[in-house]
Amino acid sequence: MVYSYFPGCTLKNKASDLDLYARKSAEVLGITMEEIEEWQCCGGVYPLGANETAPKLASVRALVAAKEKGQDLLTLCSACHHVLKRVNNDMAENENIRTKANNYMQLEVPYAGETKVVHYLEMLRDVVGFDQLKAKVVNPLKGTKIAAYYGCLLLRPSKVLGFDNPENPKIMEDFIKAIGAEPVIYPYRNECCGGYMAMENKELAKKKSSTVLQSAKENGAECVITACPLCMYNLKVNGGVDDLPVYYFTELLAQALGVK
């Protein structure tokens, strides 16, 4: 299967591991990731104001690029995924935004949300299949107790994201099982890490991320996985629990597949 791929700014820089191990693993899994040409930053956050069209155009361009290639749009960063998915939903369902964006972009064929936005984890679940993935694992992470950290952006609002059950998700735990490890269920796995407060209100980010990590640790986790560079930063830098390493899920995937 060939995907259009939207890496986003952070994966070209601080979160290059998230990208690198995803690409290596994709090769083993028979998935081709074709990076979109000249993609632009998604903006990091989905604009919540009703009339904000301009900050959504970068996402629309990426969605259109995938449509023109007849491919689904693959994402890795939780924030990019969130923004692209919600803007796509606007283009499909919000006539005001759709009309304004199309008027601005002057495409030959107007865009109306046709592209399917797929997160890498969804691709593993729905296209590769966790059973198939398990069969390709050469280096199972036997007995490792891993806490999946979902955070906010992949799950909510679930009506638009449609990623998993927002209150009791399981896709990352199923992933953990597929790579041979043992998932740890803990209450704060879908609570906020403090998000973008990391910069402007570090104290608040510290409170939130340390609650998450302590909860994971109390429930027996030996490490934590995430799909989000900002969660990674908050947990590592603001989480205050030194002996609980945090990894991108793709790094453990690559390790299990023997390509790390």
Binding site: G49, A79, N201
Partner: protein, 130 residues
Amino acid sequence: MEKNEKELAQLIQEISGLNPKKCMKCGKCSGACPAFHEMEYHPHQFVDMVDRGDVNRLLESKSIWMCLTCFACVERCPRDVKPANFIEAARLALIRQQGCNHLKDEAVPPLLDEEMPQQAIVSAYRKFKK
């Protein structure tokens, strides 16, 4: 001309594009909010204050800058009110005015560190300034 309080409330509603009257005051949003203890006015109150045109106190309080945009309130609300969107609309009503950015450029460099991801900076800029 300065907007009076009713006009400001109207502006916030317009920016949100949403209807605060849908709220049935159940408080589920505030119960779900991870920033609850940081706030003087809580998500269900935000919605109510916008509805009643009682927004000056809200706009002056630190509460509106504490929201993490985690969407827990949006997810749990049984009436699809979207409290987070009202908070963003209140922020926008402020920062869209000239010179009213919540985050000033000159304040940024000391807030950065080696490991901070681009995502954090871009997001804070989008959230706190125009």
